[in-house]
Symmetry: C2
Subunit: 333 residues, 2 copies
């Protein structure tokens, strides 16, 4: 009997990452990546990914037994569709689950990238051992994934864990979601850069952020974090405000879930202790209803690999679901 | 073999309610109530409750197989203790679980009243059929209980579902929990009354709230709701502000859990559609991340009986846990 492996596809706007693991979850490292050549269209990109996965499996004499797919939202888990993610022009109502299932004749599970990363951090990363965990990715936007008792919660319309859209400033800036004052409108990487640019265009002086001829549009969250670390006043004000509102968001997450761990991922989280130390302090000061010192607030551990690890777990879940259906059928037979 | 029944004790500051159900959850109505004569102390009150429960069971020739206890927090589920609830002076570190277990030799489950009411509304009340439900009780304070997949989530320190302590106004009024600007500081019954009194003492004119010689301290949330319904300007402003912030809280609950139902209980919820209709409208306007029209936002159905119904469910859970332990032991044997 041929070995069986789980395959993972993590679809991003600039690259697609592929991985395999055994049925127990032990990954075959390294994962592989190729650029997402968006112009080729989703069908040819998917073909390429599946070709490569079958080749990878074949190299070790194994057969793909199930596939997990992670992708930026919006998507429909129920219908197995990718629905026009901002970073994937042309991927409109793309029936990825059906296409993978038809070609490989194996079970397929699809979820969004934040949920996949949450699964990954819980099993392989910073959330290991936590009975309950909330993952927040602070990147272009702010996404989230919630794991309770080892399982993701999805909620109506897969909207559970949308922690970036908790409203923290009722009359705040408009959000991409259509609401106002969402956490994302203040604390995402994009919003951190925007708030710094606003301060400068409103005449804030003495900042190094535009040194070397930089433009307001060229300011990044990373540059703001670095300038704040170097003592730049404008950048420090923006960074402090970021911490302030992020502490509100994390506090509300704690009031909702009281999870054993809050894991922060995404580009902004790579500031590490520059973000985490004051964040923990503010959460401790402002949250009184829960024993905050028993809640780990930590940086994600898997970086850019979290999507592949998460898709491997999705694939394993698809495989396990098929197995238990099989058992149920044979016990009925 | 004698019939077995589940017994429930719902401990409130003014009365204790008792109930029985069969092992399948069918309650024996009516429930019974007696006043909580706080001066007698917790031990004698508990004795009285257990005497009465045994008498009730005996009347139908049954034996109590498990007991569920609901009580106002704070309490420790893990240690089985009631910890000095505000409405029960003298109930300090009261080991109710151990005392009930020693006397009746049956399994006992303790939880706070909001969690008990959440279980009750989910099984017997307004949340029936919902795979996921958040219960919010808007009373002296604001408490909550979250049910996912049929089970309460408790979280670290039993702090999950503390929706009254989501911060909705960062520089708001101090809260009993020690934080500032919690939802409870604006939307609890106590806070609604306080905000109306503040407006009047700040010179707001032309309100009927003090008609008939009433004092600022005598204003109640119920009076504010009634005056708002009658068109009183000050009361209407307070009521509108209540809706505004409650919509923020419910919106954040939806961003966290995307539950199939949000059930509102407690005294303030008895305003019914005066509260719910504008609340649903504001939630629809302000929450864009989830399909709000697929989420029921409804009034609790069980009123003052929710605590007993919930304690019956706790008792049934204690019984089921013992049974499955028994099975595990006998399968090991």
């Amino acid at each position: 009997m041929t070995n069986e492996v789980i395959a993972a596809i993590d679809i991003g706007g600039t690259k697609i990452a592929l991985g395999l693991s055994d049925l127990g979850g032990e990954p075959s490292l390294p994962f592989r990546r190729f650029p997402t050549d968006v112009a080729r269209g989703p069908h040819r990109i998917l073909e390429q990914a599946l070709d490569e996965l079958e080749r990878m499996a074949g190299e070790s004499g194994a057969r793909v037994a199930a596939v997990g797919v992670g992708c930026g939202g919006p998507l429909s888990r129920r219908r197995g569709l990718i629905l026009s993610p901002a970073n994937l022009p042309g991927w409109d109502e793309f029936p990825i689950v059906e296409l993978v299932r038809e070609r490989l004749r194996v079970p397929v599970e699809l979820d969004n990238d934040a949920n996949a990363a949450a699964l990954a951090e819980h099993e392989y990363g910073a959330g290991r051992g936590a009975a309950s965990m909330v993952y927040m990715t602070i990147s272009t936007g702010i996404g989230g994934g919630v794991i309770l008792g080892g399982h993701l919660i999805h909620g109506v319309g897969d909207a559970a864990g949308e922690v970036g859209h908790m409203i923290v400033k009722p009359d705040g800036a408009p959000c991409g979601c259509g609401a106002r004052g969402c956490l994302e409108t203040i604390c995402s990487g994009t919003s951190i850069a925007r708030r710094a640019a606003e301060r400068l265009s409103n005449g804030a002086q003495g900042s190094s952020l535009l040194d070397g001829g930089g433009s307001l549009k060229g300011i990044t969250a990373k540059a703001v974090a670095e300038a704040a670390r170097a003592g730049d006043r404008v950048a420090s004000e923006v960074w402090d405000e970021t911490i302030e509102y992020l502490a509100l968001g994390v506090g509300n997450v704690i009031a909702a879930f009281a999870p054993e761990a809050v894991v922060l991922g995404g580009g902004v989280s790579t500031a590490g202790e520059q973000l985490l130390e004051p964040l923990r302090r503010r959460v401790n000061e402002s949250v009184k209803i829960a024993p905050v010192d028993e809640i780990r607030i930590v940086q994600a551990a898997l970086g850019g690999d979290s999507g592949v690890y998460g898709a491997l777990i999705l694939g394993r879940q698809a495989h396990a679901a098929q197995q238990s259906q099989g058992e149920a059928s044979s016990s009925r037979a």
